[in-house]
Symmetry: C2
Subunit: 285 residues, 2 copies
Amino acid sequence: MSSEKDNWFIEHFDSAGTAFGLRLKRKLESVQTDYQHIEMWDTDTFGYLMTIDGATMLTTRDNFLYHEMMAHPALFSHAAPRNVLIIGGGDCGTLREVLRHGEVASAVQIDIDEQVTRFSEKYFPELCESNSDERAELRFEDGVKFMQECEAGRFDVIIVDSTDPVGPAEGLFKAEFFRHCHRALADGGVLVQQSESPLLHSDTIIRDLHANMREAGFSHTRTLPFPQPVYPSGWWSCTLAGKDHDVAGFRQADATGKGFETRYYSADIHKAALVLPPFMEQALS
Amino acid sequence: MSSEKDNWFIEHFDSAGTAFGLRLKRKLESVQTDYQHIEMWDTDTFGYLMTIDGATMLTTRDNFLYHEMMAHPALFSHAAPRNVLIIGGGDCGTLREVLRHGEVASAVQIDIDEQVTRFSEKYFPELCESNSDERAELRFEDGVKFMQECEAGRFDVIIVDSTDPVGPAEGLFKAEFFRHCHRALADGGVLVQQSESPLLHSDTIIRDLHANMREAGFSHTRTLPFPQPVYPSGWWSCTLAGKDHDVAGFRQADATGKGFETRYYSADIHKAALVLPPFMEQALS
């Protein structure tokens, strides 16, 4: 549920019992696509805001936190990531981060709704600057169906850049989906899924996610928390799963000398994000 | 500015252009003290909520993040903290964490408004469980005046557990106040101040805070970020200042074997919190 009143966009996270809001300059555009209702807003202090069905997706100011943490920990946890798949991620911000890695030969992005990408090209052009990279392939189709039919061992890293596990994205958190991911990954493969709030979801969604990934055959799983102001509680996480190796290890020297700029991610932040507070360790043990 | 509508308490952080809210069961109590307007609420998912002049102070569910990070990094950064001063902190949550340290011989808490402590005793009794500890002294008076008159070298650790640096607490972020703290600290002393949001304030309040602490004579300063859902952006920080030593070091073995339970803090979380993301390092360099 969201409301627009007195120049504030307020999203009420009903299941969390919390709300987050941004002061608006104005509403820019809105469209009902075949799949969802996309709205674009100009905010006072966070730049542009994209909402889908009333839920905050991203803003200009703070999306770097999410996109850097969805891409770099997973890629540096793989020994030599050449072929990368992104499920969801239609704003193309994760794709941009993935293509900063010189060893990536191909990155396929599969979002069901082309309009998300068209809006992003217009309002977040900085996130789309790698869309014409010859290594990038943008497909607009059903990611779950793609995974079901995907040939075995095709990808080194799969990034599930999805919305919350309610409604359309629910299936992306289930063991059945992860089994398809496991099969589609080559040996040494790494899967990463955005995994909600450490404060709100450690003993529910995050715990279940680990169980489902293990059930699907992944040998190791790790949750990395990071700040994300516009999502419920302002504290978010990604969960990595290694097909056959411990994702607590990563190419630290490569991450340190990565040769491209980041604003949140660094080798040291990666190490720090692998440290969980006691209450999370307990919830996930 | 805050509003109460349709069973939601929404605080609009006007300078940040963001808002945070909690769904309410009901309003419990409210009082106009000599200093401020205190209100208590029962929320749906965060337990009790205390607001002062419409601003969120703390909730049952997430105050452990703030209180543990205001107390333990500072105390473990001191070689042997015996005498501790808390300026503000009337809810007594920081005091409780301080008194978990067996080597602390005395902890003085100075909050101008006794009613904050009375409300906390009623609604957050778990935070007040050490108020009758014989090492604790609760004083209700002006912390700035106390610091001006404080004898030199009296304290080992000073914790400034204040509200935002606008209005009454503005002086608690200035070099003049920090000079009094510097004088009141014995050799090896450590000061810690809550220091707002890494995302919103790195190149303003946090940067100025470091400058003011250094100007006051502190040799080393470090900011440690941590999550705090109910404050603007959900990402918060404390800034440590060493009178004459680098507060990047701490008693790691003691922190590891601390012998009391914490939910967020650990020796590894302490180390992790000392790692700043590149954008903060740049803002503070």
